[in-house]
Every structure is written in C-alpha cells, then in structure tokens.
C-alpha cells in the first residue's frame, strides 16, 4: 500500500469514527433483529454454545448431512418422476428397450437417468446418500451403546434416535421400490408375501395396504406420497426434536481433564465449530457426489421393467435390508399347521425377528438401569473398556447382524468362492446361534484383561 493511499484509508476511518458510524452492516442488523424479535441476549449466549470435540461425535452429523443432501436431490428427482403404473411404449434413447411396453413410472426414471441433463448424477447422489445415511445412523447407534450415552438424561432422545433408524430404513425401502424396475417389483412382491404371513389379519392387511392382490397396479402411486412426504416429515420432525434436546441438554463428552457431569469443555459454536461443521457437510456431499460420478448404482435400465413372470439372478436389496433378507433365507421351511390355522415359516424371520431385535433395542436404557441400578444423570461418557459386559453384548449384537447380512448374500458368496450354496447356508445357520455368544465372550475376556489399564489411562 502506498503512503498516499494509506493516509486516505486512515482518513476515512477517522471520519467514520468521528461521525459515530461503523461501516459494518452487522450492528444495524443486530439492532433490527432485537427490536423486531427481541432476545439478542439469549442469542448472544447461544452463539457461545459449547460443543465437546471427538471424531465419534461426527457420526450423527454425517447422518444429518445425508438427510439434507437427500432432501435437496429428492426435490430435483420429484420434478421428473411420475408415479403411475399405466402402460406406455418406450421411445427414449436406450436402444435395448425401444418399443417395449413399460409403466409410466419406469419410463420417467429411464428418462431422468438417461435423457435429463445431470439427472443420472442427481439420482445416484440420492441413492448413495441414502446408503451412507443408514450406515451413519447404525454406527452412531452402536457408539451410543458402547459409550452408554443413552443413560439419564438422554433416554428420550435415545428412543427418538432408534425410531429414526426405523423410519429412515423404511423410507429407503420405499425409495428403491418406486422406479418399477424388475428388482424393485420383486422386492414389493416379497413384502406382500411377508404381510400375508401374519396370522388372521395377514391377507386382509396385505390387500388393504397394497390395494388388492399383488400386483394391484396402483401401488407406486400409493408409495410415492409416503416416500416424499409422510416419512420425510416424520423424520424431519424427529430429527428436529433430537437436535433440540441435544441443544438443551448439551452434548455428552468423553472423560478428560476438567470435565465432569457438571462441567462441559469444548469449542464454542461461533466461529470455529460452525465453520468446521459447514465444511464437513460440504465434504459429505462431495464424497456422495464422487461416488455418484464414478460408482454406478441401481442401473434400472439394465434390470428391465417389472413383470411378474421375469426374474433376475443374484438379486439383492439395498445393504441395510440385507439382515432381513438373510434371516428370510436362513429360516428352514418349518410351517406350523394347527387344525385349519397355518403359520408360514417366513412369519418368524420377517415379522417376529425384527420385533425381537428392535424391542430390546428400544428398551436398552431401562435394561441398563435395572442391571446397573444406576439412575443418575450422566454427561460424561463411559469408555468401551470401562464396562466389559455392555461392550461384550454390543459386540455380540454386531456379530449377530453380520451373520444375517452375510446370509443375505449367500448365493453371491457361494458363487464367488465356489462353495456349495446349501452347505454354506447350513454353516451360516450354525453361526447364527454360535457366533454372537462366542464374540461376546471373547470381547468380555479381552476387556477384563485390559480393564485395569483402561482405568489407569482414564484417570
């Protein structure tokens, strides 16, 4: 800066000060806010809201970012998708399907994927973000279990979190059912069969929900508002409550110097935390976009339209439904016939098992309370090694889900490794019972051995 210009600059600043004017627009903005809405004092305090730091606290954030990405890309997709199963003759740019009679829904997804500029990118970002969303939620949930973050005063927020896992998984299932391609139609057929299997109410419930015997021809028009309005509204509401409670109660923190159940140590929201979090949001969006650019996902034009008499081999649902698929594959065909009452074998893995998994999961804070007799307020997390039983049970739970997930792809594993498929299934059936307790016992033993060392590092 030259001598003359600096003098000029100084002169201007001097004049500004002399007339009591600051060039920054923030002060009038703050005054406007305070006089029109009030509460500047409260806002000032909340800008200094403290967030404890840990990489583990990033998991829930990833999930939240995925929701934002899904809403943004979903709005783009909704401009093009048409939820109708009425037939139309395909005349788009994908030559192998030229002249084929397909549904309007499938036609609109083909056009979106192959003929709308950036349409494929948006669809693939949407699908990848959904896969990352459920993954982040589940790892976030496991972190809660391993560090006992669900204890008072966060029991209610834990319930909201588990509900979110359920709702998000359900909405993912709705989403990949919409394109009316061969895979999605086959998935819906299986869902109809599972609903039918519920004793007494099953058949009526199935025809009620699906609009008649499958395929009813009106199902996609029915799923669409559920996928883009009903479930997203529920998810947004629960997510808002989840974050609201987090805000009021403050975030938990790992043990460390100066930290206690009374004193929270961390970074204030403004400016560092807000900058970093915005950066992480953009990075998660960037990673999902990079996947969408370079890793093809759900190429529905290759699968072809859904026809009830067509089938694909090696058909797999999205990964987060793999556990349910695995359970359905592993259950032997043990139908129960009592007089005129038939309970099909698929009822147990597809209806009862999810209940057996989610009911205890919802009850974890109260099970923990009964087992430990600890009903006090806790803001400092436990380390996984501090409570070997809790960690061992979580490890067993992870092993259990892993066996189910592998069974969901048993045909692919058997094909790739050249194993006999029925024999591999038998091995998995044994592992279903043996692996979870084995992993739990080994985890418990390892943690007990290291327990003292953990305890000393913590202090």
């Amino acid at each position: 800066m030259s001598r003359d210009r600096r003098q000029d600059h100084d002169l201007k600043r001097g004049l500004g000060n002399a007339f009591g004017v600051r060039r920054s627009p923030i002060r009038p903005a703050a005054r406007w806010l305070d006089t029109n809405l009030g509460g500047s004092g409260l806002l000032r305090a909340e800008l200094r809201h403290i967030f404890p730091d840990s990489w583990a606290f990033f998991l829930g954030e990833i999930a939240m970012f995925c929701f934002i990405i899904l809403v943004a890309t979903g709005i783009f997709l909704a401009l093009f998708f048409q939820a109708s199963e009425a037939p139309v003759v395909y005349d788009g740019s994908y030559a192998p399907l030229a002249g084929a009679e397909i549904s309007i829904a499938y036609d609109s997804v083909l056009e979106l994927s192959l003929d709308v500029p950036a349409g494929l990118l948006m669809r693939q970002v949407h699908h990848w973000a959904a896969l990352v969303f459920v993954g982040a939620l589940i790892i976030h949930l496991l972190r809660m279990l391993l560090t006992a973050a669900y204890r008072r005063p966060r029991r209610i927020n834990y319930l909201i979190g588990v509900s979110l896992v359920l709702l998000v998984g359900m909405n993912g299932l709705m989403g990949y059912s919409l394109p009316d391609d061969l895979l999605s139609g086959t998935g819906l057929r299986i869902a109809f069969s599972i609903t039918e299997s519920i004793p007494f109410i099953g058949p009526a419930l199935a025809t009620l929900l699906f609009g008649g015997e499958f395929p009813s021809g009106g199902l996609i028009a029915r799923i669409y508002p559920v996928h883009i309005f009903l479930l997203p509204a529920a998810i947004a509401g629960l997510l808002g409550a989840h974050l609201g409670l987090l805000w009021l109660q403050r975030h938990t923190q790992f043990p460390g110097p100066g930290r206690s159940d009374r004193v929270i140590v961390g970074t204030p929201m403004v400016p560092a935390y807000a900058l970093r979090t915005t950066g992480y949001l953009l990075m998660v969006a960037g990673v999902c976009t990079a996947f969408a650019a370079f890793a093809q996902i759900n190429p529905v034009w290759l699968y072809g339209p859904y026809r009830a008499w067509d089938a694909t081999t090696a058909a797999q649902p999205d990964w987060y439904m793999g556990w349910l698929e695995g359970a359905v594959r592993m259950m032997p065909g043990w139908d129960i016939q009592i007089g005129g009452l038939l309970i099909p074998a698929i009822f147990w893995p597809a209806v009862v098992l999810p209940g057996l998994i989610f009911t205890p999961l919802f009850l974890v804070p109260w099970i923990d309370w009964v087992a430990t007799r600890d009903g006090a307020f806790h803001n400092v997390l436990m380390l996984p090694g501090q409570h070997p039983v809790r960690s061992a049970l979580t490890a067993g739970f992870i092993a259990f889900l892993t066996v189910l997930l592998v069974a969901g792809g048993n045909d692919v594993f058997a094909f790739v490794y050249g194993w006999s498929q029925p024999a591999f299934l038998t091995v998995l059936q044994y592992l279903f019972f043996l692996l979870p307790p084995a992993v739990a016992v080994v985890t418990y033993a390892l943690l007990r051995v290291r327990a003292r060392r953990w305890a000393t590092t913590v202090r």
């Binding site: 200094r48 403290i50 500029p117 990118l121 693939q124 005063p153 086959t186 057929r189 299986i190 069969s193 299997s197 058949p203 009526a204 199935a206 025809t207 009620l208 929900l209 699906f210 008649g212 499958f214 403050r250 009374r262 004193v263 140590v265 961390g266 970074t267 204030p268 400016p271 935390y273 900058l275 970093r276 979090t277 915005t278 992480y280 949001l281 969006a285 960037g286 976009t289 969408a292 650019a293 370079f294 009830a308 008499w309 067509d310 089938a311 694909t312 081999t313 058909a315 359905v328 594959r329 592993m330 032997p332 065909g333 139908d335 038939l342 099909p344 698929i346 045909d411 498929q421 029925p422």
Partner: protein, 275 residues
C-alpha cells in the same frame, strides 16, 4: 495459521464450479459432471474445515451442564397447580368420563377410513385365472400345442384370456417318457408327460424362474429354494416348505393343451387360512 490448504481448497472450488458448468453445457458424461461437482464441494468443505480447525486451536472453553432437578418444592408446586386446573374438569366426574368416551368413539370411527385403502382379499388369493377347459398360451398369447414343446423342453405358460397373469403363471415341462413319476391321485394330470407347475414360489412369491434340466429342478432366484420337478415339485433345499402346486392338464383332439380345472390348492406363499 496455515493458509495454503484453505487457498488450495478455494482454488479447487472455483475449478470444480467452472468444470461443472462447462460439463453441463457441453453435455459431457456423468463422470465429468459429478467429478467436477465433487471437486467443488470437497474443495470448499476442506477449506472451511481447515479454517475452523485453526480457529478451534485458539479457543477451548468450559461451561455448565443443566443441573439435574432436585427442586422438589418446585415440582410439588407444579403438581398442585396442575391438579387444581384438572379438578375443574374432573370435579364433574360423569361429564369428564363421558367426554373421554365420546372422544374414544370418535377416534375409533375414523379407523373405517382404512377400508378405503383396498379391497378385502375375498377369493383373490385362493383362485387364479385357470378354469376348466382354458387353453395354455405363451406370454404373447399364442396357444400351445403338443408340437410346440419337444421332450426335455420348458415353457412359461398362462391361461388364455385369463386375468391374474402374475398368479396364474405356470412352468410347462415336457419330460422324456418314463422319467416323470406322477404323485398319487394325480395320474391323469400329466398327459403325454406334459407337466405344469405353478411358477409362484411358495416361500415368498418370486417367479421360480430357473430350470436346471441336468438336476431336474426348478430354482427360485430370490432365496434359492430348489424344487424336484420329477416328484411333484417337492422341496429339495432352501427356505420353502410347500411343493409347487401342480395344474391338472389335458390335451384336446387338435393337440392344444388345456387345464382340467383351477389349481386344487392355494398358489404362492402361505397365509393363515390357505388350503
């Protein structure tokens, strides 16, 4: 404060943004479009994250968690206050109970709206498009004659003019003379060793689409149930429990295959009152 990663991130953002716009206008591939957008997002994200990290190094503060409630007096006061408000209503005990009853009846009445969602199952789950005398046709509607399917062959067939194509689909097999063993009571269902099985899997309803002629099995691609077609489509392996129902077939004097009747048992997955 290290400024170079922040600057580099901003440069990547600008490059990615320009690349995205150019790729879109030029109609380049998904990889260019997505790659440039990813570069822009990651660049900006990294810049902000680095900046935030530098600032965070400067500032760690302590504060107070909200204290656990030990204000029992306040809680008691709140309870008393609520009790007083509530007693305005509960004092008139009959009327308040009547109100709850009325609200309950109203809520129950709204359940009938669920009935708008779909028809009752009726006989739709227990019947198919097959009737006595209905001919077997291909997916294109061509009637199937005995000459259309040589021994060892396999076709997907539907009832002529029948609705419920999904539930009526059958796997039509023509066995080499002597291979096929009819089940008891079904000796007349397989004229000239033509046999038709329901193609809807009894496990979860997928089409049992794969015919392995070496093993003489039908395999469901969804959950890998195997059915032995030589012996009444009984289950060999996999999660299915019931055999595939067999359609009683006949052949008329012109050589056309037709059904003697509908299936004699429920097609597809089981439910509580399936036969």
């Amino acid at each position: 404060m290290t400024t170079w990663p922040i600057g580099l991130g901003i440069v990547a953002t600008i490059a990615g943004a320009v690349g995205f716009a150019v790729s879109f206008v030029a109609g380049w591939s998904n990889a260019w479009l997505g790659g440039s957008l990813a570069l822009a997002l990651l660049g900006l994200g990294l810049a902000l994250a680095f900046w935030g990290r530098d600032l965070a190094g400067d500032e760690v503060i302590a504060g107070r968690y909200p204290v656990p409630p030990d204000d029992t007096d306040g809680q008691a006061a709140l309870a008393t206050q609520l009790d007083e408000h509530a007693s305005v209503i509960t004092r008139r005990s009959f009327l308040s109970k009547f109100l709850i009853f009325g609200v309950g009846i109203f809520a129950l009445s709204q359940v009938v709206l669920l009935g708008a969602l779909g028809p009752w199952p009726g006989d739709s789950l227990t019947t198919t498009g097959w009737r006595k005398g209905r001919r077997l046709v291909t997916a294109d509607g061509e009637p199937i004659t005995r000459d259309a399917l040589p021994t060892g062959g396999f076709l997907v067939a539907f009832p002529e003019g029948g609705d419920d194509k999904a539930g009526s689909q059958v796997a039509l097999l023509h066995f080499v003379n002597g291979d096929f063993v009819p089940q008891e009571g079904r000796e007349s269902w397989s004229p000239e060793d033509f046999v038709a099985y329901s193609r809807v899997c009894t496990h979860a309803g997928c089409p049992v689409a794969e015919y392995a002629d070496v093993d003489q099995t039908l395999v469901c691609p969804c959950h890998q149930s195997e059915f032995d077609v030589l012996h009444g489509a009984r289950v060999l392996s996999g999660p299915a429990s019931r055999p595939l129902p067999q359609l009683p077939l006949a052949i008329d004097e012109d050589g056309f295959l037709y059904a003697q009747s509908d299936f004699t048992e429920t097609v597809g997955p089981g439910f509580w009152n399936a036969t």
